[in-house]
Symmetry: C2
Subunit: 288 residues, 2 copies
DNA sequence: AGCTCTTATGAATCATTGA
DNA sequence: GTCAATGATTCATAAGAGC
């Protein structure tokens, strides 16, 4: 266990090991948001062994059972997952997982779509490139905490006349849809000029070298952290990988608990999180 | 039955009635593409009576059994469907339908996403606007006909800027802009300047009122018709509604069989299709 | 198992411009 | 002239799928 403290508060906890073993050590009803991207079926074989699609649900259910226990009743579970093609067909392991999670007690509240602007290239005679992934939202109850104002975006109209072409406009909008500026507080004060986003997120994958085969872009955990937590809430990522969720937590002033089975990634994650600045401390009485 | 003939060929057939009754009259293995948007569960009660989500799969399976029979072995079935929110949860009838169709023998080849750029406005405390729908592709066999070159698109401007000079790109754009109309074959000749699309379609919904509560934009059937059929192939829409698929077929020179249970929509569809110009006849030997 | 098809993007490397 | 900012170009690579 490696702990990083900021301002006397235990902010970041990185645990090395299998989350199925580590999760039972966490207290019940203690997590505000679980945001994770587990290894997809048949992927990351070199590092995680790869789970066969047929065995995926069986593999995941004991973990999600523990996730259910540690999540607060008003908390949210965001699951990033993608379907694979098996024998010319879309594999059904994702939809089987959804059904299984519901039987386990989870409510399948929403299905966000992550549109990957730079999807993996390729050419096949019977299909185009797969440019989207699931971002599934599950909850324990119909009532959960949600801070919609924290993720508002500039409206279409303000950009239309500024853009030279439709394509420019799309580019701009896709950038602004994720609120590219970190740490900015775009909420109530300017809310008259902002609109709520939809359940389709347009983001590029990061193809820069993170020494991890599958980092998702920081914008994704950032968006859900803003949407479902406030400062000093606790976020859990049981498949922390290179620690992207932890980096976003550090930047946004949320507590983070990460679990990762590969020692090398634990080190990378810790280094990345340590290199990330925490939000500036706000004086109790600030001179204006 | 109302029939429209063009150039001596029976091009458009609109049948009034329940597709479950009408489909058995079609010969087996006769359809190249089925492209349809059936009534979503529990929606549009005023027009279709509405199917309760729990009964949706049971209601659809006898129809899809007939669709399977009439589709050519190399044909494709495109199903536009949207998940509904029931009691604060995403309803599972779509994923249950996918599983049921697979048990019926269909291969679930691909899951396209229709990103609705102007989704229905609204505000809820626990969710954002739903801006996407499924466009599910099913086939009878792993081998099916697909004409990918017919739907190639200009690359992203940013990519072109980097790959080539702006001037080259502008020249190319002028050309392709003129080829963007219906019926044109912008493929092989300029294929080096075009790229293949992904499985995420960005289309606006149609704002104009067609007197039908759920018209999808003509771009959607147009895209799939180009992708999966050639001229004089036969396209079937068992839930023809206001005839959007038929209009696209007429424009693209494909034969169309539409079925619609509401007499008023049959009339609207026929009027719209009749008002649509067929592609210009190409002389067998054209003087140059 | 290996080869191949393919596109968007960040990072790196230079070239050009302007104060 | 120097340095910083901007722009053009190159390069590697990203959670793939079919034969």
């Amino acid at each position: 266990m490696r702990i990083q403290k900021t301002q006397g508060v235990e902010q970041t906890t990185l645990l090395e090991g299998d989350c199925l073993t580590l999760l039972p050590k966490l207290p019940s009803d203690s997590i505000d948001l679980i945001c994770t991207s587990p290894p997809y079926a048949d992927c990351r074989k070199k590092t995680y062994g790869g789970i066969v699609p047929d065995d995926y649900v069986e593999w995941f259910l004991p973990i999600s059972q523990e996730l259910y226990r540690v999540l607060k009743p008003t908390g949210t579970f965001i699951l990033n997952i993608k379907e694979k093609v098996v024998a010319g067909e879309r594999s059904t392991y994702v939809i089987n997982l959804i059904l299984a999670l519901r039987r386990q007690g989870w409510l399948w509240t929403e299905g966000y779509i992550w549109h990957k602007k730079n999807s993996f290239p390729g050419k096949w005679p019977n299909r185009f490139r797969d440019a989207w992934e699931h971002l599934l939202q599950f909850n324990k109850n119909r009532k959960f905490k949600m801070y919609q104002d924290a993720v508002m975006v500039p409206p279409k109209e303000s950009t239309v006349h500024r853009a030279k072409s439709l394509r420019d406009y799309e580019d701009f909008r896709q950038e602004s849809a994720t609120g590219s500026g970190f740490g900015r507080n775009i909420s109530k004060s300017v809310s008259r000029e902002l609109v709520y986003p939809t359940n389709v997120l347009h983001l590029a994958t990061e193809c820069s070298n993170r020494n991890h085969s599958a980092t998702f872009p920081e914008s994704i955990p950032e968006w859900f952290i803003k949407l479902f937590t406030v400062e000093n809430d606790t976020v859990l990522d049981p498949f922390a990988g290179a620690g992207t969720t932890g980096v976003a937590c550090r930047r946004l002033g949320r507590r983070f608990i990460g679990m990762e089975i590969v020692p090398e990634y634990v080190k990378i994650a810790m280094d990345r999180i340590n290199a990330t600045p925490a939000p500036a401390e706000v004086p109790l009485s600030s001179p204006v």
